[in-house]
């Protein structure tokens, strides 16, 4: 530790000297690492948005329970109370015939005019039940068995398909993250090996003078960290530009998609990319260093 503190300035100068000794090559490796981390950033952004979407949709998971048209409203309200007691239900309420029609008008948007063709309101009152998605099967079964319930409608198919898509995206994402990690490690350890080869005379002399491996290797670890951090910074800039333009282009056009907050997303992705670049930089440098032979 004492040796390290006494040589902070030396390590700093050595790091820049190693970078400058192979500047063009190092520049390309920063670009390469940056683009790879950008790819990783895109996958991570997609995963974060997908998770947000799924979480929101899971919160919105609801089933509709229809009862006999002859049932009195007070009896229907008792039924609502009974449903609220079922485990896995976090809210239930009675939706009257008029509200039911109004919901459909909202859903149809400009096409809602078609409803004018009906002389009478064709929509029946029902009980809107908000549920935890995990408990869908049991809730459906219990609601279906309640006295007075004639028919239960769920949107399970939609939710299951969405879950499937997001699950698939997660697998692809994991594969891309693995590929990114391995590629960055290969690029970086190769760069470190190249740096070691270029400085082999100096390294050999230091060894003969008794320099410990940590003293010889530290500037190379710093180079690895510097290169990946610069690559990470480049990736962060690119991904933030992409997120910004993505949010700007869908702003107002796709309001029904529950996107996470732009600032939060940019912050999280930036932190993630920098953290990943730090870890990869450290690992890549150590892999590269481990390749120094036992040269006497």
């Amino acid at each position: 530790m004492k040796t390290f503190l006494y040589n902070v300035g030396y390590f700093h100068r050595e790091t820049w000297r190693i970078v400058k000794s192979n500047l063009l090559s190092n520049l390309f490796s920063v670009l390469g690492t940056g683009l790879i981390l950008f790819l990783f950033g895109m996958v991570a952004t997609g995963t974060l948005i997908g998770n947000e979407l799924l979480a929101k949709l899971q919160q919105e998971a609801e089933i509709s329970a229809y009862f006999s048209e002859t049932m009195d409203e007070s009896v229907a309200l008792l039924l609502v109370d009974e449903i609220k007691e079922i485990e896995g239900v976090w809210n239930a309420r009675l939706v009257g015939e008029e509200e039911s029609r109004s919901q459909m008008e909202d859903l149809l948007g400009e096409e809602a005019g078609i409803l004018e063709l009906f002389e009478e309101n064709p929509f029946a009152a029902f009980i809107e039940i908000r549920i935890h998605l995990d408990s869908m099967d049991t809730v459906l079964n219990e609601v279906d068995n309640l006295n007075g319930i004639e028919y239960v409608r769920d949107n399970r198919a939609v939710l299951e398909r969405l879950q499937g898509i997001i699950g698939g995206l997660k697998i692809i994402g994991t594969l891309i993250i693995l590929a990114v990690g391995i590629t960055t490690l290969i690029i970086l350890s190769h760069m470190i090996r190249q740096g070691i080869y270029n400085n082999r005379e100096q390294i050999n002399t230091l060894r003969l003078l008794g320099a410990p491996g940590s003293f010889i290797g530290f500037p190379f670890v710093m180079v690895g960290l510097l290169l990946t951090l610069l690559g990470g910074a480049l990736a962060t800039i690119l991904i933030n530009v992409l997120i910004n333009s993505g949010y700007s282009s869908i702003d107002g056009a796709l309001t029904f998609i529950p996107l996470p907050s732009q600032q939060g997303l940019m912050m999280n992705i930036s932190i993630l990319i920098i953290a990943v670049s730090l870890v990869l930089g450290l690992l890549g440098s150590l892999f590269g260093l481990s390749s120094i032979g036992k040269n006497r």
Binding site: Y6, R17, E201, Q202, T205, L206, R207, L208, L209, P212
Partner: protein, 223 residues
């Protein structure tokens, strides 16, 4: 300080560099190893620095057996040694001062002390004016003196100097030998190889070994 019993060194190509070397060098001794080129002088220093290992026999430096596989221990031992290589092994692109500093950076010395030691060592070898020069711009003789400054600045327990006067004129060569003799004051053991026996005529406070064809032929000024 150094103890060798029946040491042989055979290189992988079959060359027998050293044969039946027996040595006992005490702390603070100055020993000249003379002999013609290719006689085994450099090979002996390589054994002492752990760059090669005896194929037969036993060798101890500062109480440590010099055997293969003890990389960490040999590394620690090397920190107590001030080597002067025949080919200097200076680091190009650095100034003379930085090269001397480089030999001390991992010894746990405070920066101020390192700078003072480096400066003093360069003054001792007569390179006060060349401290800021890059080593590749120095003459061979000057580079050799930087290498010597790097070795003595470390205040080592043992100096292994391989032909330290090889590229110097008579006057500078004598000065360098004088400097190497002066480290005796701090009880440093000094081993100097040289084929320039004419420089040693007036030297009395040292021991002499003459190596020929890998073996110690004569002890004393027997050339």
């Amino acid at each position: 300080m150094i103890r060798a019993n029946g040491v042989y060194l055979r290189y992988p190509d079959g060359t027998e560099a050293l044969k039946d070397i027996n040595l006992h060098i005490k702390p603070g001794e100055i020993v000249y190893i003379t002999g013609p080129s290719g006689s085994g002088k450099t090979s002996l220093l390589k054994l002492l620095l752990g760059m090669e290992f005896a194929t037969l026999g036993s060798l101890e430096v500062m109480g440590m057996p010099m055997v293969k596989g003890k990389t960490a221990s040999i590394n620690k031992l090397r920190r107590k040694i001030g080597p002067v290589f025949q080919e200097f092994k200076l680091i190009d692109g650095r100034r003379a001062f930085e090269n001397v500093m480089m030999g001390m950076r991992f010894l746990g010395m405070p920066p101020r002390k390192m700078k003072d030691e480096a400066k003093n060592a360069l003054i001792k070898v007569g390179l006060e004016e060349k401290m800021a020069s890059k080593v590749e711009n120095l003459s061979w003789g000057q580079q050799q003196r930087v290498a010597i400054a790097r070795a003595i600045a470390r205040k080592p327990a043992l100096i292994l100097a391989d032909e330290p006067t090889g590229n110097l004129d008579q006057e500078n060569a004598m000065n360098i030998l004088k400097i190497l003799h002066n480290v005796k004051d701090i009880n440093t053991t000094v081993l100097i190889t040289t084929h320039a026996t004419h420089l040693l005529d007036g030297i009395e406070d040292a021991n002499f070994l003459h190596v020929d064809n890998g073996s110690i032929r004569v002890e004393g000024k027997g050339w």
